[in-house]
């Protein structure tokens, strides 16, 4: 999938651009390069509708002069002179951040499991066979079930980072992903469920998400009548339903710059209890095979595993080099340093700050779903939500809708509810009576952080509003 010389080519490109920066007398520079290749299949109406392949990539240049930075991106190395001029023009128009310099070279230990040779060896035929297996599995699980949308794909990315400060890093990562929208349209009722799985390593031919999609399309059929009055109720959110909300609200709240700028609901609460006292949050940049893991962050600083919340107490935060320098320079905090939390979505933008492989754990361990339902007694199970992106990361407030919701009474599942609103404040709900399941699943993206979460039972703080 990836040309044998992919790394050599982007390293050569970085050196050419870096040499040009040096020739032009740029004080500090950093060049990143990405080159990705992949194969992809789309599935519609129960069949493979399209097969695609290709590659893309480019370079980004960040320059720093006297605390001022500029950035530009380019596709062709020959365009480097123009891109460098643009980056310098921007730098010279930018405010100086006292103390901001590009990170110096530090040793970084490799992280294993980020590249799978089996993925590199895959061709389009292999994907077609996997798609056949998925479609067959869905049909075998329920003859009414159809994969109405989705697809699968594999990719490989060669990346490199070279800087004037001696950072010279490159590597290859792989990815394999699959997602299906399974619908059951029978007896004048259409139910559906979207499920997906992805990772750095080769997935099984038929991942468990396939059966899960069929299951949720099945169990949400034949809605029962429930009291339509809005009510505060315990809610067991599956990992799939909880992750989109959690990822929208929580990682943003623990960015160092947002904390010190009063832009987080946890601003001013460093060292205090912010979550239920058994819960901890960990951001792991070095997880073996982690979807978002790497040996260095987006600006070359070695990554680490850091505890953000320790048994309910806020003890950490995430910083990139520039954010740390800027907030210190502006007097919002006395001291701050990079935590190896610079992230990049590609070559088109300079690094921002974000999480890697982000996990919530409980000192009390995980519980089976039966145990969680018994504890819940009366309430709801919510498996997916619509509108997680409309949650407010500044306040933690959210108000979303779900069509994959089950009513629970006396610890037993009574049946599905056709549709309901679900609202509350996630930060507050997580600070109360919370219990975790025992099966951690991974949701989220490669570049903007992946969530490692089990099912989460929130006993207080959520309101259900049945349609």
């Amino acid at each position: 999938m990836l040309p044998d010389d992919a790394i050599d080519r982007i390293n050569d490109g970085c050196r050419t651009i870096g040499s040009f920066c040096t020739q032009e007398g740029v004080a500090q520079w950093e060049v990143v390069a990405y080159q990705s290749y992949g194969h992809q299949l789309d599935i519609e109406a129960g069949k493979i509708s399209l097969a695609a392949g290709g590659g893309e990539g480019g370079y980004g240049i960040r320059v720093v002069e006297e605390g001022r930075f500029g950035y530009a991106y380019l596709v062709d190395v020959d365009a480097a002179p123009n891109a460098l001029k643009q980056a310098l023009d921007v730098a010279r128009a930018s405010p100086s951040v006292e103390g901001f310099v590009l990170p110096s070279a530090q040793e970084a230990k490799p992280v294993s499991g980020l590249c799978d040779q089996r993925i590199l060896d895959l061709g389009p035929e292999d994907l077609l066979e996997q798609a056949d297996a998925v479609l067959s599995e869905v049909a075998s699980l329920d003859e009414r079930a159809v994969v109405t949308g989705g697809g699968l794909g594999v990719g490989a990315t060669a990346s490199a980072l070279l800087s004037s400060e001696g950072i010279d890093s490159s590597g290859i990562t792989t990815s394999h992903g699959l997602g299906v929208q399974v619908s059951i349209d029978a007896n004048d009722e259409l139910t559906s469920s979207y499920e997906g799985d992805s990772g750095r390593q080769l997935l099984p031919d038929v991942p468990s998400c396939i059966a899960n999609a069929v299951h949720w399309a099945q169990v949400t059929r034949g809605p029962i009548e429930v009291n339509s009055e809005p009510q505060d109720a315990p809610v067991l959110m599956t990992s799939e339903g909880f992750s989109p909300l959690f990822s929208m609200v929580v990682p943003t709240a623990v960015r160092g710059d947002r904390l010190v700028r009063n832009e987080s609901f946890w601003s001013g609460k460093q060292g205090t209890q912010v979550l239920a006292d058994d819960l901890s949050l960990i951001d792991d940049g070095r997880m073996d095979g982690g979807k978002s893991a790497s040996s260095r962050d987006g600006e070359g600083v070695p990554t680490s595993r850091q505890t953000i919340v320790d048994q309910g107490r806020l003890v950490g935060s995430m910083w990139s080099t520039r954010d740390a320098a800027q907030q210190v320079a502006e007097g919002r905090i006395e001291e701050a340093h990079s935590t190896g939390s610079a992230v990049r979505g590609g070559h088109q933008a300079p690094p921002g700050t974000g999480c890697r492989d982000f996990a919530m754990t409980s000192r009390n361990g995980g519980h089976t779903q039966d145990a969680l339902l018994e504890r819940m007694d009366d309430g709801y199970i919510v498996h997916s939500v619509m509108g997680a992106h409309t949650a407010n990361p500044t306040s933690g407030d959210f108000s979303v809708t779900t069509s994959t919701i089950l009513r629970v009474e006396g610890g037993s599942i009574l049946g599905p509810v056709k549709q309901a609103g679900l609202s509350g404040n996630l930060a507050q709900a997580l600070s109360k009576d919370v219990h975790l399941g025992d099966d951690v699943r991974i949701q989220g993206s490669y570049s903007s952080g992946s969530m490692h979460l089990p099912d989460v039972l929130l006993m207080q703080g959520l309101r259900i509003n049945p349609a």
């Binding site: 480019g58 596709v75 559906s192 009063n262 300079p350 509108g387 549709q419 679900l422």
Partner: protein, 480 residues
């Protein structure tokens, strides 16, 4: 490493061509020789600029250009696609892409129909929507001046702890050549400015975002009173600090034109996309010609509305864009389609194909989607019969499950309506419902319909859209 060609005459804008036409024609011919019934090459060059300021200081400015090209080949009734930033490599990929299409076709079950395309006029021409002020000629100082105007007006209160303002402009140049002889070039620009205002009062922290933008160059930004935009955002932020949580339940809802636009985009627009209908993932399957809404509801999707953020002159299959009337007086009249789905349903193509950029293949997408105006004069008239309800304004986005026909959208702020009057400010209002039910519950529309704030629509690919309409009343909506 990847590389992109330069336009043949050295002028990236307007009349310049990036594709070497003779080589592309040869590649398309080669695809046909290998058994392709149709082949196309579409290139998109995007020259763009993003600027952000935070608390009045330049945070980042990023100029750049991306060129991507996608070759789409139809062979044996199935698609093979190759996308790349390496223009020179494209002819070498014809054989493998035909092979890919044939491999997909070989797996087609006998019950499944092969893909075929509706016939369309074959055109060879260029269409360039010229901006009044080419945004590529706008220097950084000018952009900063506008951003600072927005910032300063939004920041004037000690309870405002942060104001982040952003700018994005882009010049989009597209070339399409097909094995049928289509050879078109088109270009246009988009410009956008936005702000996110964060307010804090004790332990309460809220944020409010505002946007202005549209198709066009610098004039889009200059035509906006940025001072007023910023002041309104500041006032809304401070109001949210005092707002109460919204009541939950089924209530009469009045939506401003921002929210009306998002409602019609989510609740109706997506289920009207013919690729979803054909896939069995739309609640509107089989409902063409049926009454699905109140007779006062007429909805159009119109990419030809100049200035709308979803405006574009030609769709990504080379068809001249046109207005589509999705609902006429409550009756579902038209799906949005592209050539494949037009053939599938035996209906006329209506130029609904859009791709995110040169590296993606076209899907059926919306453009500028609006409910047409009704008969009510103003907000007061819409509210006068409401004893207890909610007036919701501004959009935080929405989402739809097209198959189930359920949708959700969230408001930036809201008010309680009591006895026909706006009373308490509310926060965190979201609205959900079922498409086939709530279109019947629209029972009041003001006369003046127009596009509201620009937006973005995700469907695997992200494209800019314009949404809007009049102020709308829904007799009963699930408010949360």
């Amino acid at each position: 490493m990847v590389m992109s060609a330069s336009p043949t005459d050295g002028h990236p804008a307007g009349t310049g061509r990036y594709l070497q036409q003779s080589k592309i024609q040869a590649a398309l011919g080669h695809a046909q020789d290998l058994g392709a019934s149709y082949a196309e090459v579409r290139l998109m060059a995007i020259t763009d600029s993003s600027v952000a300021i935070r608390d009045g200081k330049l945070e980042r400015a990023i100029p750049g250009q991306e060129i991507g090209v996608t070759m789409r080949i139809l062979a044996d009734g199935a698609w093979g696609v190759h996308s790349t930033t390496d223009l020179q490599s494209l002819p070498g990929q014809v054989e493998s892409t035909v092979r890919l299409a044939k491999a997909v076709a070989a797996r087609r079950a006998s019950k499944d129909r092969p893909v075929a395309l509706a016939e369309v006029p074959i055109l060879e021409n260029e269409v360039h929507w010229k901006p009044k002020k080419d945004v590529r000629n706008t220097d950084l100082d000018t952009k900063l001046h506008h951003l600072m105007t927005l910032h300063d007006s939004a920041a004037e209160d000690e309870r405002i702890v942060s104001v982040t303002c952003g700018w994005h402009d882009e010049h989009l140049h597209t070339e399409l050549m097909t094995s049928e002889g289509m050879n078109r070039v088109w270009s246009f620009q988009r410009s956008l400015i936005n702000a996110t205002v964060t307010g804090r009062d004790g332990g309460d922290v809220v944020s409010y975002r505002t946007r202005h933008g549209g198709e066009g160059g610098l004039e889009v930004i200059e035509d906006c009173d940025l001072g007023e935009l910023g002041r309104n955002a500041q006032v809304a932020t401070l109001r949210l600090l005092k707002a109460e949580r919204a009541p939950s339940g089924k209530l009469p809802l009045v939506a401003d034109r921002d929210l009306t636009g998002v409602y019609i985009h989510e609740a109706l627009g997506h289920p009207c996309e013919a690729d979803l209908v054909a896939a069995g993932d739309s609640c509107l399957d089989g409902k063409l010609g049926q009454t699905i809404g109140n007779s006062i509801v007429t909805v159009v999707d119109d990419p030809t509305i100049r200035g709308g953020y979803g405006a574009h002159p030609i769709d990504d299959e080379g068809l001249d864009t046109r207005e589509k009337c999705l609902i006429k007086n409550g009756v579902l009249t038209e799906y949005l389609n592209h050539r494949e789905t037009a053939h599938h349903f035996g209906i006329a193509p209506n130029a609904g194909a859009r791709a995110q950029d040169g590296l993606h293949h076209p899907l059926v997408r919306m453009s500028n989607t609006m409910i047409q105006g009704g008969t009510h004069n103003d907000l007061d008239e819409l509210m006068e019969d409401i004893e207890y309800g909610v007036y919701a304004c501004g959009s935080r986005g929405g989402q739809v499950d097209t198959g189930r026909g359920s949708f959700q959208f969230a408001a930036q702020e809201a008010w309680l309506i009591e006895n026909g009057e706006l009373t308490k400010p509310l926060k965190d209002v979201s609205v959900s419902g079922l498409t086939l039910q709530i279109l019947n519950d629209v029972d009041g529309l003001t006369r003046d319909a127009r596009l509201a704030a620009p937006g973005f629509c995700g469907k695997g690919q992200t494209v800019p859209v314009g949404d809007g309409g009049p102020i709308m009343r829904i007799s009963q909506a699930l408010v949360g």
